[in-house]
């Protein structure tokens, strides 16, 4: 029958597309890992394990870059989760529907603001302010504040969408008992709140670890261990973006190693989150 042949072709085409799409990540990881392997030959593993990143004088220690990446991500996550949880609770639980709808739209739009625009704003507005306290102002603190502003809507949208999954009937029943919204939250909202926070902060953490543009513009890009929040730092992603243009030989291989480390950390976090999270959902941000 003609139907059957057309349907078989349809299945082959869609399944092939599915396999190609699913394979993109594997190819990406394999290519980056393959090129990073060259770094184990030259500059060599012991060089990569050093504590100085100074390619011009042959120092390829990744430690300060890894530390910079983790330091920025940790502080960013702290701010973004507190602010995102508050905004998500306000929109998804506390505010009257009409105000909440407007604010929700605002958060969705904010979640789409490009990182380079936040970075530009950080460089021209926030950095000078922080520079008064710790000149020149491009620093760990600036990077984390701007990144938190960038990622906060993601956390908020995630918390909001989890809270909204609580059935209206359950909410009305709790409201009818005369309990305050907070008591109602304690009664039926804690589990969705936690779920939204876990999903949102995982996404935010992955993006904070992998973000490049904000870092380039406001982190100061000095490859060192920062001694305080006012010190500049360089991250894995920042080093790749800044040095890729002129690197060659061992330096180039080391940059691929940085890429492999960044990719491995982010993939590990996302896979862990998928295993912990259990159910998967689509977050529009």
């Amino acid at each position: 029958m003609f139907h059957r042949r057309a349907d078989a072709l349809f299945t082959v085409v869609t399944r092939t597309a599915g396999a190609v799409s699913g394979g993109v990540l594997l190819v990406l990881a394999a290519v980056i890992a393959w090129h990073a392997l060259a770094a184990l030959g030259d500059p060599g593993l012991s060089a990569l394990l050093g504590t100085r990143w100074q390619p011009s004088s042959g120092h390829y220690g990744v430690a300060p870059l890894v530390f910079g990446t983790l330091a920025v991500a940790a502080l960013t996550l702290l701010i973004a989760v507190v602010g995102g949880a508050a905004a998500g609770l306000a929109v998804g639980w506390l505010l009257p529907a009409r105000v909440a709808t407007g604010l929700r739209l605002l958060l969705l739009i904010a979640a789409g603001i490009p990182s380079v625009v936040w970075g530009l704003w950080g460089l021209t507005t926030l950095v000078p302010l922080i520079g008064r306290w710790a000149p020149p102002g491009t620093s760990w603190l600036s990077a984390s504040l701007v990144l938190a502003a960038l990622l906060l809507p993601t956390v908020a949208v995630s918390v909001d969408s989890s809270l909204r999954a609580v059935p209206a009937s359950a909410r009305q029943a709790v409201a009818a008992t005369g309990l305050s919204p907070w008591a109602g939250l304690a009664a039926i909202g804690l589990r969705p709140l936690r779920h939204g926070l876990v999903v949102g902060s995982t996404l935010a953490l992955a993006r904070a670890l992998g973000e490049t543009m904000v870092i380039l513009l406001v982190a100061g890009n000095v490859a060192q261990f920062p001694r305080g929040l006012g010190d500049p730092l360089r991250t894995l992603t920042g080093a790749i973006a800044l040095e890729m243009g002129y690197a060659s030989g061992a330096h180039l291989a080391a940059l691929f190693a940085l890429g492999a480390i960044a990719l491995a950390v982010v993939v590990a976090i996302l896979v862990l989150a998928q295993c912990l999270g259990g159910d998967r959902e689509v977050v529009l941000a």
Partner: protein, 282 residues
């Protein structure tokens, strides 16, 4: 409940409300701060000529014409890959059950979170070097496609799944083939949701910067074909802010243009979602 416990609870409730609303107000204030700041510093540079002229003095003066052309070129290549591949994948995932589909979904979800600079490295190695595209709009568009694909597939799948199950069941009972059921029935029904998925994908594509630095390049000359390098809007903002002294006003003006395009595309997507929700009895 004893009187004093009740009062205590109320007081705590008020405090919690105050904290949450204050934090929310700060979030909204920062957004307003960003927008007002950008508009204020972009103001002297905003005019229709901005869209039609070539940049002068490294972008400090003049317009964005080649930048907008490069952005459109990269976006076109990206969508030429993502639309067919993404739609077919979304159909496969909406149809399939079990391990295979879950693995593809998991893989795409992780790809969506991959650091964009690393995807850019891949693009440089594979599209730029191995395929010989060098720094070009084509190389940038293909790299971008890798980043946009997960968004379009996952949201597209959700849109396809939202089509009521009676529809394909009825069609099958009437003897319609599976292929025509998908092409004539399910896809047209899910079209608003699919367009919304595409709009959000376009948003992600326009926002992307790091993946394009070493694939599409940063040349501000007018690209003459997809094989030429070109500087997209987001990269232009970065170059002006970072590498051009006195480029802040132009950077802000470019950011305003980018935000305007983004807001328009997202508004179209959200409107499509809203319309599909209204038209479907639930």
């Amino acid at each position: 409940m004893p009187e004093h416990r009740l009062i205590h609870w109320r007081w705590r409730s008020t405090l919690a409300n105050a904290t949450v609303f204050a934090l929310t107000a700060v979030v909204v204030a920062i957004l307003a701060w960003l927008v007002i700041d950008l508009l204020r510093s972009a103001w002297p540079r905003l005019s229709w000529n901005l869209l039609t002229e070539d940049p002068r003095r490294a972008g400090r003066a003049g317009g964005l014409a080649p930048i907008l052309v490069a952005t459109a070129g990269v976006l076109t290549v990206c969508l030429a890959v993502v639309v067919p591949l993404g739609l077919a994948t979304a159909i496969a995932l909406a149809e399939a059950r079990g391990r295979w589909a879950n693995m593809v979904r998991a893989s795409l979800d992780v790809l969506a979170g991959a650091p964009s600079i690393v995807v850019g490295l891949f693009g440089l190695l594979i599209f730029g070097d191995a395929l010989g595209l060098g720094y070009s709009l084509a190389s940038g568009g293909l790299t971008l496609a890798m980043m946009v694909l997960p968004v379009v597939v996952r949201l597209g799948e959700a849109a396809l799944r939202a089509v009521p199950a009676e529809l394909p069941a009825t069609a099958a009972a009437l003897g319609l083939s599976r292929t025509s059921c998908w092409l004539r029935l399910i896809i047209p029904t899910a079209l608003p949701g699919l367009l919304a998925a595409l709009a959000l994908g376009v948003g992600r594509a326009l926002a992307e910067t790091a993946a394009l630095l070493f694939t599409a390049g940063a040349s501000e000359r007018m690209p003459e074909s997809l094989a030429d390098p070109g500087r997209v809007l987001a990269v232009h903002i970065y170059e002006l802010a970072m590498n051009v002294a006195g480029g802040e006003a132009s950077a802000a003006a470019s950011a305003v243009v980018l935000l305007a395009i983004l807001t328009a595309s997202q508004a179209l997507g959200l409107a499509a979602i809203a319309r599909s929700r209204r038209s479907r009895p639930s």
